[in-house]
């Protein structure tokens, strides 16, 4: 992909905190990555890994008390993480589009989809209502809504789930954004509709050279859509690299376990590889490598030192196995709680 171009989005040492009564929770810890124009970066992880928060931090929609505690987010070289609310509002929508999981809650049930599209277009572009409506119609056709001329005046509840998600995509595209942050765009949809939406997203970003940050827990969606993938665990990036390498030659033990635990076609009735235990709660992230209590390869060093991303095969992984000094003396995992 276009790796030589200057990055469209640059996230550096991002840290998202939630101050609570019981102390500050670190939900995203020292996350750095870049997205080039026209590139699709997949962000995967299990619930609580911090993937949605990273997306929300980029579009400036962190829910209080969550806040960006450190780090920088740059869009086209311009810093956007410290913009005042009104300025950020202009960036959001115009330069960054957002697609959320549940299409019903991202649309206003009281307005027809046409009116919502026209409003969004006019917010960002100096067009007359008639021009904006023509543009809205164009967008609805582009996202593949049959009978768009007639559907434009319908209300969200008159659309099915898949069609609603198409409307949401049309809304995100209104102002011709350079980056789309798509947070679980297909999770609420049936498999056959999921394939349609993914094909649509891919086609649109190819045609418009829009970069996409695709946040999902579904490795299948990533495998088909993304150019590069970042695997998140307990608020950090465990591994990041070209999608093919991460899926076929995972470098981090967590990624390996995750790939093994997905049922494949072609191997029936076998036991799935399982990672014992579950992701730690944010209040009790272990010292050293956050994955160490579940890791089969852990050594003394993993209990004390926290690994940063380092070169590992074609990717970068945060694991001491890829360090010249290694993990140190192996530490046998105490058997799972049973």
């Amino acid at each position: 992909m276009a790796t030589n171009n200057p990055p469209l989005l640059e996230v550096k040492n991002l840290r998202v905190e939630f101050p609570t009564r019981r102390g500050t929770l670190l939900a995203v810890d020292n996350v750095s990555f870049e997205i080039s124009p026209g590139e699709v970066l997949g962000v995967v992880g299990e619930s609580g890994a911090g993937k949605s928060l990273t997306g929300n931090a980029i579009i400036g929609l962190l829910e209080p008390p969550g806040r960006i505690a450190a780090g920088e987010i740059r869009l086209e070289g311009r810093r956007i993480d410290n913009l005042p609310y009104e300025e950020m509002r202009k960036v959001r929508g115009a330069r960054i589009g957002a697609i959320f999981q549940d299409p019903l809650t991202s649309l206003n049930p009281l307005y027809s989809v046409g009116r919502q599209l026209v409003e969004t277009i006019q917010t960002h572009k100096p067009l007359s209502t008639a021009q904006a409506r023509a543009r809205a119609l164009e967008l609805l056709k582009e996202v593949g809504i049959p009978g768009a001329e007639h559907r434009i005046d319908h209300y969200p509840h008159q659309f099915s789930g898949g069609m609603r998600q198409r409307v949401v995509i049309a809304l995100a595209l209104c102002a011709g954004p350079r980056l789309i942050v798509a947070d679980e765009p297909t999770t609420a949809l049936d498999v056959s509709i999921q394939a349609q939406i993914i094909a649509l997203l891919k086609r649109l970003c190819r045609e418009h050279q829009t970069a996409v940050m695709l946040v999902t827990h579904d490795m299948g969606v990533i495998a088909e859509t993304a150019d590069r993938v970042a695997v998140m665990y307990a608020g950090r990036i465990a591994e990041i690299g070209p999608v093919r390498d991460v899926i076929k030659h995972a470098q981090h033990p967590y990624t390996k376990g995750l790939m093994g635990s997905i049922p494949h076609l072609g191997e029936r009735g076998e036991r799935l590889t399982q990672i014992e235990g579950s992701m730690p709660r944010l209040t009790e992230i272990p010292k050293g490598c956050a994955f160490n209590p579940r890791c089969t390869f852990r050594g003394e060093r993993c209990l004390v030192d926290r690994p940063e991303l380092m070169a590992a095969g074609a990717s970068r992984a945060a694991c001491w196995l890829h360090d010249a000094r290694g993990v140190g003396v192996p530490v046998v995992r105490e058997p799972a709680s049973a």
Binding site: E224, V243, R268
Partner: protein
């Protein structure tokens, strides 16, 4: 000889009409959802039969009918030769009910938040009077907790102290408490993360082997279904359109809807195979299309499909309800999956 579980002509309609007065004033007709519209399934002892389909196809309704949470509108469900819809005396019903249990999708909603885990798991044992005394009850619950890889000490905790995967283990322990032979599992892993899903699927397969359980497994995830099932039934708008042993169904799918579903499985092997997105969506079960309900989305549909409802006819070692297959219009293709080389051929 009757099969272990035999379901014949099962139907369940739901009345979703507006209230009587509104109907009369606004001259609206009654509206009936045909959630399950004639399902025939047999499940042999010790096997895992899976029902797959998209949301609204009626698969969860079948699960609820089988365990008796809904009475059927028509049709029969026979369990080990006993017709479940027949009224019998209390002890006889409870003796039958003990032998089938259900695991629900959402482990957050299916456990009573005010009960301790011990009491949740002990409830079926108490209800069916399966323990001799308190010590026996305690021993049984502790054994169950160990069976699902929790510790006896977890019995004193409340459900909110556990993660999603652990809660699903508690649901499984509760379902096993009455020593059932048949478990109905309604999307038991779809609320869980993949690594936890793998733990639960492994546990379910281990338990099946150890306790000779029979499963009716409801899921929309075809990869999961492929992994654990002996036979698979594909549902579309309240009907089973195709059922066959797992290998047959995935290797030589016959019904166009089955093929479409298989095409939508994400390709994790990066073979470059593109998913062929199929146009259209599942129509409303209130006004299902005439004839074969799949015909508006089917690339092979002709005039006969629009008027005549296809019957389930034997095809290879399963059944298919499709005119195109019956007439031989639709060629059956062999499919291969890239992991085959790792797997010795099965007969």
């Amino acid at each position: 000889m009757p099969e272990f579980v035999q379901i014949d002509g099962l139907k369940r309609y739901f009345d979703v009409s507006a209230p009587w007065l509104v109907r009369k004033l606004e001259n609206r007709p009654r509206q009936i959802v045909q959630a399950v519209d004639g399902v025939d399934i047999t499940i042999a002892k010790g096997e895992t039969f899976s029902l797959v389909g998209e949301s609204g196809c009626g698969k969860s309704t079948v699960a609820r009918l089988v365990v008796g949470l809904y009475p059927p509108t028509a049709g029969t469900i026979a369990f080990d030769g006993h017709d479940m819809s027949q009224r019998r005396g209390g002890t006889e019903t409870s003796a039958l009910r003990r032998r089938l249990q259900m695991i629900f999708q959402d482990p957050y909603a299916s456990l009573n938040p005010r009960w301790r885990v011990f009491d949740i798991i002990a409830e079926p044992i108490r209800a069916f009077g399966l323990a001799k005394d308190k010590a026996d009850l305690r021993k049984q619950v502790e054994d169950l907790l160990r069976q699902v890889r929790l510790t006896p000490a977890d019995g004193a905790k409340f459900p909110h102290e556990f993660s999603g995967g652990q809660r699903q283990r508690i649901s499984i322990a509760r379902a096993l408490a009455s020593r059932p032979e048949f478990l109905v599992c309604d999307e038991p892993t779809s609320a869980l993360d993949v690594s936890v899903q793998a733990q639960i699927l492994n546990l379910m397969m281990d338990l099946q082997r150890r306790l000779q359980l029979t499963y009716l497994f409801i899921s929309h995830n075809l990869a999961v279904v492929y992994h654990i099932s002996t036979r698979v039934g594909v549902m579309y708008l309240g009907r089973v359109v195709e059922q066959a042993p797992t290998e047959t169904l995935f290797r030589r799918p016959k019904h166009p809807y089955t093929r479409m579903l298989l095409d939508t499985i994400p390709d994790l092997e990066m073979t470059g195979r593109q998913r062929t997105p199929v146009g259209g969506e599942v129509p409303s079960p209130i006004n299902p299309p005439s004839g074969c309900t799949f015909h508006p989305r089917c690339p092979f549909a002709n005039d006969r499909c629009k008027v005549e409802r296809p019957k389930a006819l034997p095809a290879e070692d399963g059944t298919v309800a499709c005119h195109g297959i019956e007439e031989g219009r639709i060629p059956v293709e062999e499919r291969s999956y890239s992991l085959d080389r790792a797997q010795p051929a099965r007969s």
